[in-house]
Symmetry: C2
Subunit: 337 residues, 2 copies
Amino acid sequence: MRIRIFAYHFLAMFHKSVHAQIFQDYTNAVEFPSSPANLYDPIRYILSLSGKRIRPLLVNMGVELFDASHVPASLPASAAIEYFHNFSLIHDDIMDKAPLRRGMETVHQKWNDSVAILSGDALLVKAYEELVKCPTDKLAPLLRLFNRTALEVCEGQQYDMDFEERNTVTQDEYINMIRLKTSVLLGCALQMGAIIGNAEESAQELLYEFGVNLGIAFQLQDDLLDVYGDPKTFGKQVGGDIISNKKTLLFIKLRELLTADDEAEFVQLQASNLENEPDKVAKMKALYAKYDIQALAIYQKEKFTAIAYEKLRAIRVEESRKDALFSLADALMNREQ
Amino acid sequence: MRIRIFAYHFLAMFHKSVHAQIFQDYTNAVEFPSSPANLYDPIRYILSLSGKRIRPLLVNMGVELFDASHVPASLPASAAIEYFHNFSLIHDDIMDKAPLRRGMETVHQKWNDSVAILSGDALLVKAYEELVKCPTDKLAPLLRLFNRTALEVCEGQQYDMDFEERNTVTQDEYINMIRLKTSVLLGCALQMGAIIGNAEESAQELLYEFGVNLGIAFQLQDDLLDVYGDPKTFGKQVGGDIISNKKTLLFIKLRELLTADDEAEFVQLQASNLENEPDKVAKMKALYAKYDIQALAIYQKEKFTAIAYEKLRAIRVEESRKDALFSLADALMNREQ
């Protein structure tokens, strides 16, 4: 459930920006020892896989919303968030037995599970090493937020694994899971920026909620694109979630609404694969259509998008300062349409 | 390489002490959520396996050496160190494929590897959650020390795994590995106490060095007891390291000194097990005796013990305040003789 095809043009623009370069220069200067190689090489490797650095961007935007002069002081927080994200990728990939990440071998695949466990641990500690470099008077609130978020991300990953073993998952459970697993870290990145930018607590919390709700909407959009995306621009196989029986919001909604008449077909499709049922994707899409699942999912996505916008609007700073965040949100929620 | 049979009587005494009870009460009051059960049950489980709580004791002694009035403020630091230690046990046990810990099933054995990875991660974050509860003016130095130590412990574990794959390991490499893997955390515990007890930096560092050197001496003592301990009091199979070809200091020294004449026997013993060579332990001990390996190891152990005592003596506080630490060191280094 990674953030994919993330408003490509918007971020491509950002990646040529001054702040992206400053962040890159900052992290390039952070040194990892050469020995033991099996501990630090995997860290250098995962950090070199050129992720989109969306979380450091959010820290940056969080600072700039309130006081851009604190951007330099926020670089360690940006690095901490990015390290934490990469730590969670290394460990999640072991648990998910994923062979590839960003088109390259995962750490446990390239080395082995033990190396991936331990280098992930070390990268998590490196995140905290960065946090300590933040302004001392902000250290305690930054740490409290970061710790709470880190625990929530662990909880989200555990729920995600638990749900794979369960037959039924409710919509609320699913949304709570994606909130924990992916969205709170986006909110955390923004709020860390706000803390460093000296925002009032109420404003910090609004910005946090903006990030969390936008993250949920984004994930729901991802579920939708997986089924209804344009194969030309989606960048990966459309219908992948259907093929792997992934419990997305669409799946959960269908299961909830399914009448006894269609139950048999649903169960048969779940048990099938592309070899014995080449039309699996088309047939599931027909079921989705019959129950208007797409509209239900769009409704949810728009609900969380609306909450996100409302939170951002409620922050009391000069309106023009919010442009960048509104643009980002627009780019995210209107991609590929 | 855990700390075992740790000066049993001394610690038994401590465990009935007021401070032990206070620490127990403190950690009992720290709440772990009930859900997701697969994330938090393993944490409750490992913490319930009643380790010896030696590290919290060291934090406590570190405070008391300078100013006992700060003991209550040090409880979160004690908890952080104990949580970190248990996090490292959970992850090390996965890597070592260990089925048992403290006589009970390990976490990955009782649940599975994914649960053990993720609950270990969460416990590491919980350690940092405790650290933030320490006095705010001490937070940055405590965190810096803790982070550095945590990375070193990861490095030690990686070297330990690397050494298993290597043919030769030097004495210096071995001692550096045990320093990183087990000793720095003891020094860290003491220094965290010293920081909270408002010790000067030079005194903090002496106390840290006392802990690290005592830890190394203790581990070398452990290597010795494994071969020369009294089976009645050692508490586990004497000769276990020999049977498993573990690269202890004794092993490394023998390999270094071995003449061509004895090389063949040594290689044959390494390739053997108790079934095809019931006298493996006795024959290795004969080789150790021929090269005076026991004396060489005792020399090293005493060297590090002497350094530890010297560091403690150099700390400028009222001498009687050091009694508890000298008693602890004596108990550790004279056990089972």
